[in-house]
Amino acid sequence: MPPQNDTISPFETALLSLDRVKANEILEETGKIWSPMEQVKYVVTPALDRIGTGWEEGQIALTQVYMAGRICEELVEKILPREAPDRKRQPKMAITVLKDYHLLGKRIVLSALRASGYELKDYGRMDVDELVEQTLKDQIELLFISTLMLPSALQVASVKKRLDHAQSPIRIVVGGAPFRMDDTLWKTVGADAMGQDASDAVTLIDKLTGVPS
């Protein structure tokens, strides 16, 4: 069954007005006709995608994006627990904040991915050495790196160089303010892609690894 616009819009509205009760009611209704993964695919992910696009276009604020992602993460966890076999565990993915302590961007992307049914490792904050060591150990295939400060963004180049040296086939997706301000920076640091917003993370999984979202 195709996505239902008359379901997505009320769900999006409920998220933007922080109405958890209404959002939950909508998922309870759609749960009568769709499986949890179908609800994620037809309602949750499209709503978060619209919210992300709204933020990119300056129509929606970051606090709304964050709260919407958090509500979705909670609701999806109820219908599709983290240990559920239906959760998408491929490719092997991890997310981190490189060097600095501004964790909001990572939190938003993590919520969006989990609300879209993905499971991934949350590395928290790491420096270059820790990150390279951990991704190799965990055999991560797709790594999301969030940064706020320019020096941290530039450090992605060191991560890439070290992983290449170890002949890791890992793909790197970067995001955060420095990459939004300079749309060539992600290429300069050797990333494989840049996400403008959290919903880009979902589509980039498919694009970079061939695993359908």
Binding site: L18, T63, Y66, Y101, R107, M149, L150, P178, D182
Partner: protein
Amino acid sequence: MSQKTLTSLDRVLTTLSHKEPDRVPFFLLLTMHGAKELGMSIKDYFSKAENVAQGQLQMRKKYGHDCLYAFFYTPIEVEAFGAEVIFSDDGPPNSGTPMIQDPEKIMNLTPPDVRHSPCLSKVLDAISMMKREVNDDAPIIGVAVSPFSLPVMQMGFDRYIEIMYERPDLFSRLMEINQDFCISWSNAQLKAGATAICYFDPVSSSGMIPPELYLETGFQVAKKTLSQIQGPTATHFASERCLPIIEHVAQTGTAIVGTSMLEDLVEIKAACKENNLTVLGNLNGIEMRRWTPEEAERAVKDAISKAGPGGGFILSDNHGEIPWQVPDEVLMAISEAVARWGRYPLDWV
């Protein structure tokens, strides 16, 4: 008016009254570059007031811009609250683990005493030293993070958003504490010799919170705080958008708005003019690190053509701090481009 060479302060005051001075004033909001000038590490540079005062004076002499910037680093205010600051060799000192891990602790938080804070005293001393050197030739810009934006460093942005939406009691208490601090910190800088205070308020920007929430929160905080700061203020959104709230920003009593490269400078200028605000901005500091001198000249020329006519414009970067990675040649190219294209009347526009 256009032929006489003005002091930097006169130039800025003229543009603030929406008249054309001798040339477009420009603020190179340099912080860490002072360490390069003095041949020392960023950490050593910020350890002494003398270094920052000397660095600022040397950079103004070198680039000929129109202010001295008394900004050390963003987390200096949370350092005064007892938080950790992490220094690096190639970027601004950064805030470490947020000092408020349990939001309930906000109820027991007290603001630091500005006069007895070693880190803040260094800033006040640097301002006094700069003031002795320039007197009233150039404005000295002091900096205060808004009470509404400081919690991002105090408790982390995610926890702060949650109390903003879900715990009005903790939010109100934190605003009271931060307002007390911001007012005394700003007034101490003015007393030490700062000409104006740059009030950094990125969380109020339209990219961060919806305009309707701004009206209930950041706007109220700014109105109350700025009315008690005993000098002129500029509100800076640190690269974030402000066009949807510009009319309200004007009502907070601020004189200047630091604007983002994410917004159209022509639109911003028109909105600011309507609200008697001066535009500060909006060169892209992140791209600046890879500009050629020609690209720097083009960017300066473009900004001046869009916002320079009629005054009400100070050319600057769009973040309020030029990255360490921006080379001297680019800064010099910006300076030369202002000298070439910024002279009023702007007949070439």
